[in-house]
Amino acid sequence: MSEQKEQPDLTRRDFIRSGVRGALLAGVGAATGGLLARSRSGDTVWQIDPEKCIACGNCATYCVLKPSAVKCVHAFGLCEYCEKCFGYFDLDAPDVETGAENQLCPTGAIKRRLVREPQYEYKIDEQLCIGCGKCVAGCGQFGMGALFLQVRHDLCINCNECAIAAACPADAFRRVPADKPYLLKKKQ
């Protein structure tokens, strides 16, 4: 009969020590993997082609970040500074009073100020914008399309597989060079 070696008892200290060692190894592995992934996608970043975007709302909910890294942006060069902007006012708003009940944005993320009668400037408060695209749809239907959605690269973590890109029904997400990370709308 072979003699069985007696296994030493695993002490709590040993358990913690090996656990920490394992966690460190896992951390180093994850960091290396992350760096590798970053170096692979480092030359390009995700962006929305505004000409393809249909403002479906998926950007608000499919991003791994909460709130989404997608925000509405405003091309001032395209904007006509309308008194009754349909990116700002609800479709059924009876007048141009700026009460919350007349505003289109559910989070109140669009601010307006008088420039010169009857022209108004509209600005996006990115802290409040969740990227739902409701204003984009309104401005696109009735106005100049000066409001559109873009991935903000101060927020985006540039996932290899962007969850919004996978869920985009209009195929509007694409990778663009990191040194030209925005796809801006231009006057037709």
Binding site: C56, G57, C132, A167, P169
Partner: protein
Amino acid sequence: MKKRRGISTTGVIIAVVITVATAAAVVVILRFDPTGKGGSGLGEQFVYDSEQYRKTDPNLIHYKELKPIETGLKVARGIAVGPDDAVYVAGDRKIVAFDRDGKSIAEIALGDPPQCLAVEADGTIYTGMIDHVEVYSKGGRRIAKWPSVGDDAIITSIALSDSDVFVADSGNSVVLHYDKAGRLVNRIGQVDKERGIPGLLVRKPCIDVAVENGKVLWVTNPGRWRVESYSFDGAPKRHWGRQSQEIEGFCGCCNPTCIAVLPRLRQAQSSHGWLITGEKGLPRVKICDETGCLRSVVAGPEAFAKGTVGLDLTVDSRGRVLVLDPVAKAVRVFVKKDD
């Protein structure tokens, strides 16, 4: 004595935890939608919905559509009616003409892309390029090229009377009044507080002009959601219109984008012109009387593709409403249902 094996509290807790975790995992897996086909999941308040305005009360639609005239153009911009109700369409870098039955009768090649046109009773064609007007004979020979209106000019419409040419310059928010030789007579529609003219307010370049009975000039003022009439010396006469998504008003931020004067045979003993108006955003064509009261819908938003922008329209001597649809690249022909 054998110890009786029971269910320990720990075991129950573990079983409950496993069950709850499994159920949660199943729910997450079932709800997981990486393709986005299930929609955003956002509440109703986040969804932009204008569908309610895309439907028109059928009782208001007094027109029916006939077979359209395919223009064969890639970009169709302007429409006009000429002698014998011939239909002229400007687009690409040419003018194409069709007889009243839609048969192609002429094609005139142009050097620049035309934006709009108007045709005299003798077949002479006035076409607006971006910044200047060119005049062509009935046979397609260029008779004149007028000087540029200016760098900021965007000519969007031309209307004619017996001795006048009215050119809408949306770039400068003004209507330029010329004689037939191309000499500038005056400017109409500019801000003039003394005469009570607030000025033409234009967002997209879409000022349209039409002449009523050779005496009155009608101009769209889309940023103010109204149409205005002027005498030929620039004195304001009347205006009507209001903003509303409802069919009675002009929708969106800036409408109407096009107008035409309905011929007298379609009017009920009215001494003033009834206008046919076209809108964007909710593309729709309708007829209003001299007070702006809605008399009929020619075509509601449901008759056009979503996102249709850039309609132009005219009317022939028989009262057929001809709508240039830039998405269909065709002339849509509408006649009264009782015709």
